[in-house]
C-alpha cells in the first residue's frame, strides 16, 4: 500500500527530495497565474469595488486553515490507531503552517472588514470560531515544544487534536447556523456555487496555489523534523557512551 512506502524515514526523505522541485515549480506557476487573474482578469464587484480582491487570499487562506487541521486530525488518527511511524511528524509539521494560514485569514478578513463593514473585528460566529481555531493551533505548537520526548508529545498532541476536531464543522457551518455579519456559504454548498465564474475561477486557482504551497512546506518541514530527531538520538547516544573525564594527575596510592 502506498502509505506504507512512506513509513521508512530514509525512503520518505528520498521520495520527497525527488518530488520537491516539481512541487515548487508547480506552486510558483499556479501562484503567478492566480495573482495575474486576481488583479487583471477578475472584474470589480458592483458593491465592493476593488476590495473584493482581498477575497482571493482571504478565502483560500481560510480553506487552507481548515484543511491543515484536517491533515493534522488524520495524522493524529494515524498515530493513535495505525501507529504509522511518520504520522506524528506530519502532525507536528502541519501545526505552524496551519497557524500561519489562519493568521492570514484573520488579518486579511479584518482588513477587508474595516472598509466594507466599518469594523476590524466583530464577535460573530464565523470569526470567533476561526479565532478559536487559531488558539488551538498555537496551543498544539506549545504542547509539542514543552514535552521532551517527541513520541510522547506526539501521542498527547494527537489526543488534543482529535478532541479539537469538533471545531471544524462549527467553523464551516457557523455562517449558516447563526446569521450575523459574515457572509453565508457561497462556494461549497449543496446547490453548487453562487459566485460568477469570472470571480470563481481566480478564486479556485489561488486556492490550488495555496494548497500546493502547503504541501511543499509541509513535506520540507517533515524532512527537517526527521533530521531533528536524528540529531537528538545521535546526541543521546553520544552522551550515553561518553567516557568519564580523566583526572589530570595520576592517583597516588595512600601511604
Amino acid at each position: 500500500m502506498g502509505i506504507l512506502n512512506f513509513a521508512n524515514p530514509t525512503r520518505f526523505m528520498k521520495l520527497v527530495q525527488l518530488a520537491l522541485p516539481w512541487l515548487v515549480g508547480l506552486c510558483a506557476i499556479t501562484f503567478a497565474v492566480g495573482l495575474y487573474m486576481s488583479f487583471f482578469r477578475a472584474p470589480e464587484d458592483y458593491q465592493q469595488g476593488n476590495t473584493v480582491r482581498i477575497m482571493f487570499i482571504h478565502v483560500p487562506a481560510a480553506w487552507l486553515a481548515m484543511m491543515c487541521y484536517s491533515v493534522m486530525a488524520l495524522s493524529s488518527l494515524g498515530t493513535l490507531v495505525w501507529k504509522h511511524p511518520l504520522a506524528d511528524v506530519s502532525a507536528k509539521c502541519a501545526a505552524p503552517i496551519g497557524a500561519a494560514f489562519t493568521f492570514i485569514a484573520l488579518v486579511t478578513g479584518s482588513l477587508w472588514g474595516k472598509p466594507m463593514w466599518g469594523t476590524y473585528w466583530v464577535w460573530d460566529a464565523r470569526l470567533t470560531s476561526v479565532l478559536i481555531l487559531f488558539i488551538m493551533y498555537l496551543g498544539l505548537m506549545v504542547l509539542w515544544r514543552t514535552m521532551e520526548d517527541p513520541i510522547k508529545a506526539g501521542k498527547a498532541a494527537a489526543i488534543l487534536t482529535l478532541v479539537g476536531t469538533l471545531n471544524l464543522p462549527i467553523v464551516k457551518f457557523s455562517v449558516d447556523w447563526w446569521n450575523t455579519l459574515h457572509q453565508p456559504a457561497s462556494v461549497v454548498r449543496m446547490d453548487g456555487p453562487t459566485i460568477h465564474p469570472d470571480i470563481l475561477i481566480p478564486l479556485l486557482v489561488m486556492a490550488a496555489a495555496f494548497t500546493l504551497l502547503f504541501f511543499t512546506l509541509h513535506l520540507m518541514a517533515m524532512q527537517n523534523e526527521i533530521l531533528r530527531r536524528r540529531v537528538r538520538s545521535l546526541r543521546l547516544r553520544a552522551a550515553s557512551t561518553a567516557r568519564p573525564a580523566r583526572p589530570s594527575s595520576t592517583i597516588q596510592p595512600a601511604e
Partner: protein
C-alpha cells in the same frame, strides 16, 4: 557589583526563553482570556469598548500570575537557589535582577500584544495607546509583587493557586490605578496624568518592597 549582575540577568533571560514555552504561553493565555470574555459578557461592541481596558488589565494580571511560579521553583528544584543563597551576594539585588529578567521575558510580550488584543475589544486608538502605556508601567509592579508570593510559596509542591491568592490582594491597587489611568485617557474629566503618576509611584514602591520582602521570605524558607 555589575560583575555578577549581568551574567545572572542573562542566565535568567535564557532560561525563561528556552524552557517550555515562556513568553509564548503567557501571550497565548492572554489571548485566550480576552477571547473568552465576550462569550460570557455578550458580543456587544460598545460594552466591550467600555470595559476593554479592564479586561486587558485583568488578563495581563492573570497571565503574569500563571508565569510567576517559574521565578524560583525551577531553581529550588535543581538546587541553584541554595547556591545563590550561599553565594553571599545581596539577596535583594538578586531578586530584583530575577524579577527584571522575568518581566522582560514574560511581561514585556504581554504589553506588546495588548494593542492587538485591543482590536478584538473594539478599543479606540487612544484607548489602545493608554492601556499599553499603563501596562508597560504597571506590569513590572505585578512581577515584583508576585515575587513576594512566589518566594513565600517556593517550598510548597502545589503552590500555584496559593500564590495567586496571596498576590491578588496586593496587586489590587496596581490594577485600580492602571484601569483608572486607561479610562481617564478615554473620558475627559479626569486628567490622564493623575492616576498614571500614582501608578508609576506604585511600581517604584514595589521595586523596593518586593525584593526586600521576597529576600526575607527566601531566607526563612531556606532555614
Amino acid at each position: 557589583m555589575t560583575g555578577w549582575a549581568i551574567p545572572l540577568f542573562q542566565r535568567e533571560l535564557r532560561l525563561a526563553v528556552r524552557v517550555g514555552g515562556g513568553a509564548f504561553v503567557g501571550v497565548l493565555f492572554f489571548l485566550a482570556v480576552v477571547s473568552v470574555i465576550p462569550f460570557g459578557v455578550g458580543p456587544d461592541l460598545h460594552l466591550l469598548a467600555r470595559i476593554g481596558p479592564a479586561i486587558l488589565w485583568i488578563g495581563a494580571l492573570l497571565a503574569t500570575l500563571l508565569g510567576l511560579d517559574r521565578l524560583f521553583q525551577a531553581d529550588r528544584d535543581d538546587g541553584s537557589l541554595d547556591l545563590i543563597l550561599m553565594a553571599g551576594r545581596p539577596l535583594e539585588l538578586v531578586v530584583l535582577i530575577k524579577c527584571f529578567a522575568h518581566w522582560v521575558a514574560t511581561g514585556l510580550p504581554l504589553v506588546a500584544s495588548a494593542p492587538v488584543l485591543a482590536i478584538f475589544l473594539n478599543l479606540e486608538p487612544n484607548a489602545m495607546g493608554a492601556v499599553t502605556l499603563t501596562l508597560l508601567v504597571g506590569t513590572p509592579a505585578l512581577t515584583l509583587i508576585g515575587a513576594i508570593g512566589a518566594s513565600l510559596t517556593v517550598t510548597l509542591r502545589r503552590g500555584g493557586l496559593l500564590l495567586a491568592v496571596l498576590v491578588i490582594p496586593l496587586a489590587i491597587p496596581v490594577l485600580i490605578f492602571g484601569v483608572s489611568a486607561a479610562d481617564a485617557a478615554i473620558h475627559d474629566p479626569v486628567p490622564f496624568l493623575t492616576p498614571f503618576l500614582i501608578l508609576c509611584a506604585l511600581t517604584l514602591i514595589t521595586g523596593v518592597i518586593g525584593p526586600i520582602a521576597s529576600a526575607a521570605a527566601l531566607r526563612f524558607s531556606s532555614n
